[in-house]
């Protein structure tokens, strides 16, 4: 099996590469690329994302044919794709970080700033928080409810359809921290930085 981590200059993806490489040891080939042909022919895609919603969308659009290729892969052909952090947020129709920016529009919804309740909650939401699993999920196979995952973000994905939410976390309000629809997966937390339990999420994705 070939798994591609999409390298579209979206900031720091070293940790994503290191953790996937660790979990894949000997069983799965991990490729880090932005080459359209390689992405088309792989079995699974990881879409990381760091920095702002706008900068990530802009970077995706800079690579000719990439957005269409990802859409064909994940939406038309329903092959497994995992978005991490802003990688997940970009599934939305629209994001409001930096400037109003059109997202990929794969899952209806928007990405807005977390309500800090007049400074009561510090932003970014940084650190370990418990996830509340909302539905049976392939990504959370053998992962206990209320497991700790590592978060770093100031914006949250608010989908229109709650049935795609696979986990939430509490910070100021109930924040969507994982989504799942068919073979489309996303985590707001960073499985690559969430210690052994995070590596288990990655393992679940590789074992799909």
């Amino acid at each position: 099996m070939n798994v591609t981590i999409v390298d579209y200059q979206s900031g720091n993806i070293s940790s994503v590469i290191n953790s996937f490489t660790e979990v894949a040891k000997g069983k799965v080939k991990i490729e880090v690329t932005s080459e359209i042909n390689k992405i088309k022919s792989c079995d699974k895609i990881v879409l990381p994302g760091q920095g702002s919603f706008k900068s990530c969308v802009d970077s995706l659009n800079k690579i000719s044919g990439l957005v269409e290729t990802l859409k064909d892969f994940a939406i038309t052909n329903k092959k497994p794709l995992l978005g991490i952090c802003v990688g997940l947020q970009m599934f939305a129709d629209i994001g409001y970080e930096e400037a109003e920016t059109k997202g990929l529009g794969w899952i209806s919804g928007k990405v807005s700033k977390i309500d800090n309740q007049n400074g009561k909650f510090k932003l970014p939401h940084i650190g370990w928080n418990e996830i509340e699993i909302q539905k049976e999920s392939k990504m959370f196979k053998d992962i206990k409810n209320k497991s700790h995952m590592y978060f770093v973000h100031s914006y949250e994905f608010i989908p229109e359809d709650n049935s795609i939410i696979s986990a939430t976390t509490n910070y100021s309000s109930k924040i969507v921290c994982a989504v799942e629809r068919d073979n489309l997966f996303g985590t707001q937390f960073h499985p690559e930085k969430s210690d052994k339990i995070g590596l288990k999420v990655i393992d679940n994705f590789l074992n799909l």
Binding site: S14, N18, T21, S55, K122, P124, H125, K193, D195
Partner: protein, 252 residues
């Protein structure tokens, strides 16, 4: 609920872990990659490397340590010391750091904070502030590992780094660092009350109760400590169990 983080800090000099007392006398405390792995396996919420000689010597040593550590530890890794340019930040992130802390350069050139947080995202830019008390409830920013006085008020500077995109503040009391007499709680309180980004408490931990004070009395989101962990006095687990027993929420 968001958990309070415990962060062991490894001061690295010439590829070895050292711990100074008031920034000067250095003792040897082992191999940084090995230490980081022990901490990560022991439940550390993040790992912090501070390259304390990077200002004067070449940077390859720390890059190499970061590369090796990032392949073995899957918790966030912050690296600081001698970070002056966007290129320095790029190099550390490519080596596998998740966050980079900027100290002296942030004072000299706030644009570095602004540009780097825009380029890489606020989540990976930590500004490390070294503060020294100058009078009652007043602290001043020092740079160059505590050698240079700047005349800049710490509260003003903390607000300024927040405005310019820093994702976190790593606040070290130079009066307390290495003394094992506890954090400067008043300093912490002042900064956590005047900023809206997470503050990491640093400098002065000698007992587990000091960690409690940093979080509960000082309002810190995370507590950083070096020597109490390095010399085996306490394990990360001891710190977490202690805090948990006092109703401070931690990742167990």
């Amino acid at each position: 609920m968001l958990k309070n983080r415990i962060i062991p800090c490894l001061d690295v000099k010439d590829g070895r872990v050292v711990k100074g007392i008031n920034f000067v006398e250095l003792k040897d405390a082992g191999d940084p990659v090995e230490q980081a792995k022990i901490y990560s396996d022991g439940g550390a919420d993040e790992i912090c490397f501070l390259d304390i000689t990077a200002s004067n010597e070449n940077r390859e040593t720390i890059i190499d340590i970061v590369k090796k550590t990032a392949k073995e530890c899957f918790v966030p890794l912050t690296v600081g010391g001698g970070v002056r340019t966007i290129q320095n930040i790029t190099d550390l992130l490519l080596a596998g750091a998740d966050k980079v802390s900027i100290n002296t350069a942030a004072v000299k050139n706030i644009d570095l904070v602004k540009e780097s947080s825009k380029k890489f995202g606020s989540q990976c830019i930590v500004v490390a502030i070294d503060a020294k008390k100058v009078s009652e409830n007043k602290w001043e920013v020092f740079t160059h590992g505590g050698r240079n006085k700047t005349g800049i008020d710490v509260v003003d500077f903390a607000k300024k780094v927040e405005e310019n995109g820093a994702g976190e503040i790593l606040l070290t009391s130079m009066d307390k660092d290495g003394t094992k007499s506890g954090y400067d709680v008043d300093l912490l309180k002042t900064i956590t009350n005047n900023t809206n980004i997470p503050v990491i408490a640093s400098g002065g931990v000698g007992t587990l109760d000091h960690l409690y004070d940093g979080i509960v009395k000082g309002g810190a989101s995370a507590v950083l400590a070096a020597s109490i962990f390095h010399y085996g006095e306490f394990k990360i687990k001891d710190a977490k169990e202690y805090l948990n027993s006092k109703n401070v929420s931690v990742r167990l």
